[in-house]
Symmetry: C2
């Protein structure tokens, strides 16, 4: 779990506003998460998510005071872009990024909860599939869904995945899961807050790719 | 064919040396070729090829005199990198780039030759599959091959592909193919010369991704 523990997400304030700078700093540690899946076929996913982060950062950097929270970014872009919004700018980048974050969250939660395929306890396909079904499937057309199914076959053994998460250190599954649960507390709260914000601001979109 | 005709490849000199600067200029027009396939799922391919071009250009820019021809780049890198070569630097980037170029060449040649699936004359799957089988399949493991098969289902109708190649102008298939044949003359000679160079310098690699 070294990978995730190095940069824990912060506890949210009571108004659940997400500080842009702290958020960008924490999520910037996540793209290497996809390397833990072990195969280079996941490189396009890593680069899609890195692209989202770069897009949000480039908006933030233009005016760190004006864009101090994620909510301020969405509101300013709504104001600026008229009917193009929300399919535009950092609003669109965060719309997709949050789905990737949710995918990671559900996958880790499912592992931490001990969900497994009893016939193949060292596979994580059931956990990946659960995360995909909840976070992404409905936003993917039949072709990307088909590619997902193929890519799923390249998913690593649980033991290798845990080793990669722990940056190659030999830790027991249970020790790793203690850290995962710890990481998930603030992480899940942050992802939930972002989803709530998209609902409140009516910024969610249903189109498929 | 506007897309390809805008930047034709140069005729090779008699020693078949490929001028790096002219080559980089001509290939830089090719990544948009993958947009002609119509689906965003091809974006990772476009970015892989763009990455190869960027890598070669960054080596060239370090010393345009020393790296005036592609052959000079390979020889200098062989000298500099010892046993890591050829799986390194611009040598590796061009190794993969040439396969993408061969893929495009065979696909266009097959269309220009009128090869088609008689039962589905407006599909180009047979042409794409031929190009893939010759240029790439043996360098792809089972998973990427499987993803290729899925992606193939997203390949465009011939008429749409031709329209995209012609940048949206309405041209007849036959007019388009006249230009394609024209384009293929120097293009094929250049790709052949690069393949020959890899054979002569013993720079080809057989590993799969
Ligand atoms: C030789 C044969 C080659 C054939 C080529 C086939 C290539 C197959 C390509 C597969 C797709 C890769 C995943 C990327 C999918 C992306 O299309 C989507 C939407 O991506 C968004 O699109 C927006 C515009 O609509 C903006 O551009 C966003 O960009 S913006 O920043 O500019 O606003 C961008 O993120 N992102 C997604 O679906 C997000 C994916 C998140 C991570 C998912 C985890 C899944 C893990 C699976 C584990 C088993
Ligand atoms: C939500 C679910 C998501 C699941 C995610 C699945 C994602 C699937 C990804 C599919 C793969 C995309 C294609 C890229 C493949 C690449 O892996 C290979 C090797 O790529 C090379 O690798 C080297 C190291 O070994 C260097 O890094 C090279 O880089 S270097 O410059 O640094 O040296 C790099 O080009 N290139 C290739 O195979 C080249 C491909 C050429 C074009 C092929 C045309 C095919 C057209 C097909 C039309 C139907």
């Amino acid at each position: 779990m070294a990978l995730l523990m190095e940069n824990q997400f912060r506890e949210l304030p009571s108004d659940k506003a997400v500080d842009t700078k702290l958020f960008l700093n924490s999520v910037s540690y996540l793209p290497p998460f996809f390397d833990c899946l072990g195969s280079k076929v996941f490189a396009p996913i890593k680069s899609d998510i890195s692209g989202n982060i770069t897009k949000i950062r480039s908006v933030y950097d233009k005016d760190p005071v004006k864009y101090a929270t994620l909510q301020q970014i969405l509101e300013a872009e709504k104001e600026a872009h008229g009917t193009d919004w929300p399919k535009v700018g950092a609003t669109l980048a965060l719309l997709w990024l949050k789905r990737g974050l949710r995918f990671i969250q559900i996958l880790l939660q499912s592992l931490a909860d001990g969900e497994k395929d009893e016939n193949h306890p060292n596979l994580i396909r059931v956990n990946i599939t659960k995360a995909y079904d909840h976070a992404l499937k409905k936003y993917h057309g039949w072709l990307v869904q088909k590619i997902f199914k193929a890519a799923l076959l390249a998913s690593p053994y649980k033991s290798d995945f845990i080793k990669a998460l722990s940056k190659g250190q030999e830790v027991t599954e249970e020790d790793c899961m203690v850290c995962v649960r710890q990481f998930l507390v603030n992480y899940t709260a942050t992802v939930d807050a972002i989803y709530e914000m998209y609902t409140t601001l009516n910024a969610e979109l249903e189109y498929t790719v």
